[in-house]
Subunit: 415 residues, 2 copies
């Protein structure tokens, strides 16, 4: 009896039939039912019969001998599934009651039977970390892996990622990679053992999006609390706006770029986007990681900014309103820019454009050498500044130029 | 010819009639037209006739002789207008093209003729600063002024405040004051000289709310881009979510507490709230201001937290998702709590509850002594922590207890 086996479980007055999940332990069986729900069963109290062994095998890109238990279907596109960890690649650890990351890409396919028949799959594990532990180093590893997968023939890439910092990693890939195929991030707000888990629908919709015609870095997550539609967000404009809801991800400042209808298997786009094949594959993966993000709030001394930016290559400030800080921060900012530190202003309002030409404070900030971050999300601005410092000739100019949809049109609504 | 005079201005082919505003300079006249729009006119190119002098005078609470040019109407409630500065109390400085704060409360009444006849007014200036320069000191001055105004007989208080940090000041007053009358913050996203200025409607709706039956600290701002309804938000749950839109302010996680219909002059509430007279007036204005807010983003070293929290009484972390940081922050947090620093976890998702019992990272954080900030907004949590450190017996317990609507119900949506 192994993960991937189809089993029948009898215990007391109930019978379950489904696929054994890798989260099975010596004490507990975890079975994915045909309904999509998972169930945990005390092994000692159950009778188990194996009906079919290893029903969902998958080609592993890291197998050099290329042996696959699933036949290649030349009528289907090839999608590369890259796992970095997170809830979508995890299940409950029954020993402790907590959730730990313990899947590789092949396991995810076993756990999501609905992926079968939609594509030929390549599987790859780049990391196995909760996304709060994601670092710029891993962004670079991931970018290399994605490039290699595309070079090896993937028609689209799905990246499974924890939801906490998905928007940062997606932004990093959007700046580092020019891609001829879709790169679709997806994750899960509820682990697979919960009846309300969103992992199946998100993974299926991400694969459908990766087969489609948008050669951008996207985030694919539930659009509402219903199990009907996933939204497709540009990686540079998306934000996790709720700690726990399945529809936590939102495009800031506009509707999502597109949608995937789960049942109809239909992908639609609401706006212009980069099309499949429009760009050549290219990677510029250098990052200057000595960049901080500092949020200004009332009562915060400029010492916090000094500590964050001391000797740093760059700092992003999350200011108030149109891009302001207390006047007592301006001298520190002036000193930083004089010393060659790039200081980029964004707004903790999150939506709307920074404009430091309206009020005295803003004009003093411009005099002190602040670069206006346009309407970039603060987190996206931090990632872009890491990239610009390592790759751009003119950092200030590059920060104000839209590269990957991170800056939207320049219309000013308040006239 | 003085501010407040009703004038007729002839220039070239146009004639304007309205009230002269205090932003008038030696070179420029600024006239509030009867339409509500303001117009600037080159003084040299215009003929001006004074039709009526000082049409909108107002009692000034700081006048010890109590002389008033407006008769007291005993059928109307008395509303105290307190000015702290910001766009609502400012107009364009025509010399520089920028906006500077230069009104006192009496000037605001002159600039907002529509306030006349709705209440007896007391006017008071506590500060004249752009709100990015607001500090805990001024919060305390303001709390004292509000208390004095209520003791002097105000049936409601309207605080005019810059929009950048209005939510922080409103939160501070909500924690410092028990109030038997409404305390309504309002401001303006567009200065009075712009055709689209929101200052008249916001001020009028704030006065209507201050006459009503909700003895809480509220924020009253445009609910949509239309000039029809202002939303009433709890000060502890509101956030400026757009840099420039007139409807920038939103209650996070629910509908606003109420609405004010501008034309109908009707105030309605959507939920239970503290009623007029339900609480005795009380002030607990001590604050421990050595509190910082630090936002965790990928790639940020724990050194930023060390710098923010070194020797501090408390620190609020804006973590990811359910309340996480990179594992390399946990040791620093452990050292901080051992040294007696209160460390409160909130989420940069902004909406939804922190829960550090789901994932390993969160449970390590709880072991390190982190206090879960429930579903408090990070900025509100910072203000509350300043207050709790100075006033609460058990800071951790107080941080998790709703005092002024800052924590909403404890239902967990992800089961």
């Amino acid at each position: 009896m192994n993960p991937g086996d189809r089993v029948r479980v009898d215990r007391a007055d109930q019978t379950y039939e489904g696929v054994l999940l890798p989260s099975t332990t010596t004490e507990n069986l975890v079975v994915k039912l045909d309904s999509g729900y998972n169930v945990g069963v005390d092994r000692d109290a159950a009778d188990v019969e194996v009906l079919e062994s290893d029903v969902y095998a998958v080609e592993d890109a890291q197998d050099t001998d290329g042996e696959s238990e699933i036949e290649f279907d030349e009528d289907l596109p090839t999608i590369s599934l890259i796992s970095t960890g997170g809830t979508i690649a995890s299940t409950v650890d029954y020993r402790t009651g907590a959730v730990t990351a313990q899947f590789d890409a092949e396991d995810v396919l076993r756990a999501v039977p609905d992926l079968a028949g939609r594509a030929n799959y390549r599987g790859r594990v780049v990391a196995n970390i909760l996304s709060e532990n994601m670092t710029p180093d891993v962004w670079q590893d991931l970018a290399h892996a994605v490039k290699e997968e595309i070079e090896a023939g993937a028609d689209g890439v799905v990246v499974m990622h924890g939801t906490d910092t998905m928007q940062f990693t997606a932004s990093a890939l959007a700046f580092m990679l020019d891609t001829p195929v879709p790169i679709v991030f997806t994750g899960s707000q509820r682990s697979a053992d919960r009846p309300s888990s969103d992992n199946v629908m998100n993974a299926v919709c991400a694969v459908e999006a990766a087969k489609d015609d948008c050669a951008e870095v996207l985030v694919c997550m539930h659009e509402s609390e219903s199990d009907d539609v996933c939204a497709l967000h540009r990686g540079t404009r998306v934000r996790k706006n709720h700690t726990s809801r399945r529809d936590a991800f939102e495009t800031v400042g506009s509707e999502p770029l597109g949608q995937v209808d789960y049942d109809a298997e239909e992908v639609t786009f609401n706006r212009d986007h980069v099309e499949r094949g429009e760009r050549e594959l290219a990677l510029a993966d250098d990052l200057e990681t000595d960049v901080d993000l500092v949020k200004f709030t009332p009562g915060t001394s400029p010492a916090l900014l000094e500590a964050a930016a001391d000797g740093a290559a760059g700092v992003v400030i999350e200011g108030t309103g149109l891009g302001h800080v207390n006047t007592d921060w301006i001298e520190t900012i002036d000193e930083l820019t004089d010393a060659g530190t790039a200081v980029v202003m964004t707004s903790q309002c999150l939506d709307g454009r920074v404009c430091d030409r309206v009020y005295d404070t803003g004009r003093d900030l411009l005099d002190a050498g602040v670069v206006e971050g346009e309407d970039m999300l603060p987190g996206t601005a931090k990632v872009k500044l890491m990239w610009a410092l390592a790759n751009a000739e003119d950092v200030a100019e590059t920060m104000q130029e839209p590269l990957a949809g991170e800056i939207t049109d320049r219309s000013v609504p308040w006239t």
